[in-house]
Symmetry: C2
Subunit: 459 residues, 2 copies
Amino acid sequence: MARVMTAQIRQYTTPIDTSVPDSKRKYIPSSGTYPRGFRVSGTHVGVKPSNTTFPDLALISSDEPCSAAAVFTTNRFQAAPVQVSKQILEAREGRGIRGVVVNAGCANAVTGKGGLEDAKSMSAKVDECNGLNSTGGQGDSSTLVMSTGVIGQRLPIQKILSGIPTGYSNLSSTHAAWLKTARAICTTDTFPKLVSQTFTLPSSPDRTYHIAGMTKGAGMIHPNMATLLGIICTDAPIAPSALQSLLTHAVSRSFNSISIDGDTSTNDTVALLANGAAGGQPISSPTSPEYTAMQSILTGFAQSLAQLVVRDGEGATKFVTVRVQNSPSHSDAKLIASTIARSPLVKTALYGKDANWGRILCAAGYTQGLSPGTLVPERTSVSFKPVDGSAELKLVVNGEPEVVDEERAAAILQDEDLEIVVDLGGGNQGEAAKGGEDALYWFCDFSHEYVTINGDYRT
Amino acid sequence: MARVMTAQIRQYTTPIDTSVPDSKRKYIPSSGTYPRGFRVSGTHVGVKPSNTTFPDLALISSDEPCSAAAVFTTNRFQAAPVQVSKQILEAREGRGIRGVVVNAGCANAVTGKGGLEDAKSMSAKVDECNGLNSTGGQGDSSTLVMSTGVIGQRLPIQKILSGIPTGYSNLSSTHAAWLKTARAICTTDTFPKLVSQTFTLPSSPDRTYHIAGMTKGAGMIHPNMATLLGIICTDAPIAPSALQSLLTHAVSRSFNSISIDGDTSTNDTVALLANGAAGGQPISSPTSPEYTAMQSILTGFAQSLAQLVVRDGEGATKFVTVRVQNSPSHSDAKLIASTIARSPLVKTALYGKDANWGRILCAAGYTQGLSPGTLVPERTSVSFKPVDGSAELKLVVNGEPEVVDEERAAAILQDEDLEIVVDLGGGNQGEAAKGGEDALYWFCDFSHEYVTINGDYRT
């Protein structure tokens, strides 16, 4: 059966509001509540000559020095801004950071020593605006740097350096400024990705803290090179050492748990700044109730941000959560979840609204790197969990196919959102590992021509 | 820029000759030279009720008992025919095999004990035609079984068992029979994949040996579940133990070196039968010149077969060889080659005829599981090797971008065939590992809508 195909042509730069696809408009907040002491701006500098309109230089600035932490790409080819930001964080041990400067349109990756100098000069220029004298990329620098765009080309550095003072003078704490800044870090994204929320901590339940963040990801189906950037700011007081472990935990369960690989581009970076402007007791010990509360808040917040990247998946018609549970270990559960989330055949079946559990089971079966005994066919079960809270639809129970109520399956698959549950039954530890570890992963479906060929395989 | 998109709708069963795409017709041989003592047939039984015409039951039969070996899927969920064929080969220690029976249309996977009985009954039925009394799946069975198609459904076993005697009576050694048999194992393939050739061995240079094989793969872009089957027959005399190591070596460098994963479906199987009908000195010792010669012949032959699977890649406009050389180890070279071959962004760039070396380098950079020191950015070089034998076009030399002659790059990328060379410069062993290990991998490009979005990223 042929499906109607529509050509989706993406502009390289995020379109202005009026061209955001209707279906994505609901993900753009119309208001927000932002952390105290942070100001931001998005400014047009035209990194790509073809970009004559859209903001492509973002500044995120704290009035006071922050604790800062970041998770960087594991790619062996690390872009200049990644090397420079790492160097700054290490030299300063995560203290005294004032902000982040980001350009879109050019990744400043595989650009040699000149590229490193460019990245340092961006950092130093912002420091200069802050009245600080720095060399960039050393212990005296207080501005992190990020870039996203094409690899192997040098930055138009003079344009950027000239634009930084303009961007600095535009710094503002309004919702409009945050939204414009979120747009300035985009490349092929179809909408800016911004989330903000308030929270409290156990030690001072009457004090309101704020957390806000922006991210950009790719609109591509499986962009194992498209850069993912994330910047999260909070006015809670968090010590540098605690900040890094909090972020590492959160990123593992959010940006590194979506089918758009968060750990493979030359430029991927997620940074977290905490300026403590809301006051209260600083979070430091990982065993404190404050830390535990903050970990839960930050992880949930990072998941909200990361899910927006999945919502922007090219041609996506489904937003799918895969939950692997009752695993002997979290890491094995995550490996299985990620393998299912990346399977093109699972993705096309979901687009075709086909309850093809065979593809899910098969993808689980070829997961690489599992500990022996994690995946035992006769202990493995698969079900669909509808978003309306009704009972799970069992597809496979202990390795044996169920007789599936195809009508109910079809009804469940009509929804945009779906949760797939893979229960490992404790693996070869059986009951002993039940109630064991789980992992969540988020992904979208494959659509269009790929599916005209594969989506109808089973019927 | 929008590209013209054409809907390619694939029938589940291989079309009759007249509907083979024009561009693929050249891969179907019009004649062949087949190993003595083998007869084959392709018969219509209608495993899928919707298939009322096309052959979907294949028999490959040797008049005399053969040595046999096979490489099976590593998926943890192994289909019934895989379990049964393994059991037969193990019980017989690779001796006394008379042939293979294959059905298309249903994978007989995740079908429990009933599925195992079905697979055994197929084996036993062919044995019965051969005048042998067997139970199937035991040491008394002499017929291997393969299935390909949908997972989780039982075979229409009576149809198949009724069809086997018909298929047996159709056995023939003609080219037409081989071609029809090759077609009978297909599912979404757009053309039957059959190769045959003659060869000699050092010990008897005047004796002509034959080798012939058929394969099926998927027409999908990255079908990590679509079953890959391969059956290779030769009239050379090879001892069972030598046969298995010869096949393992060949499959690693052929079916497991294409971007359509050969090791992940529930059913993947490549089998090799040697009946010795051409006479001569049996090959047994791995240190003999005969063995070395046979290894080279078989590996090259398996590569020819596996390359046909890549040629049938959905929407493919390019046939790309990636060669990773001067690596400290073959296994690391292969890991890097396979990561490049699977990168959607490399594939779209090739379709867009864009000499985007950044994507190649980046994919190499995120290869998982490498030994430390294999990939050293400042020792890594990338070039395009044109098929016309002209000089390589250097893109990156020792980690630094070259100024690329874009006109020459464009000319090279006009050709359907291309070789990408990634030189690791010996990794951190430098000159000491030069002249070291290499690995080859074959893949095709991504086309169509995916590319309207990603293919023009750089311009």
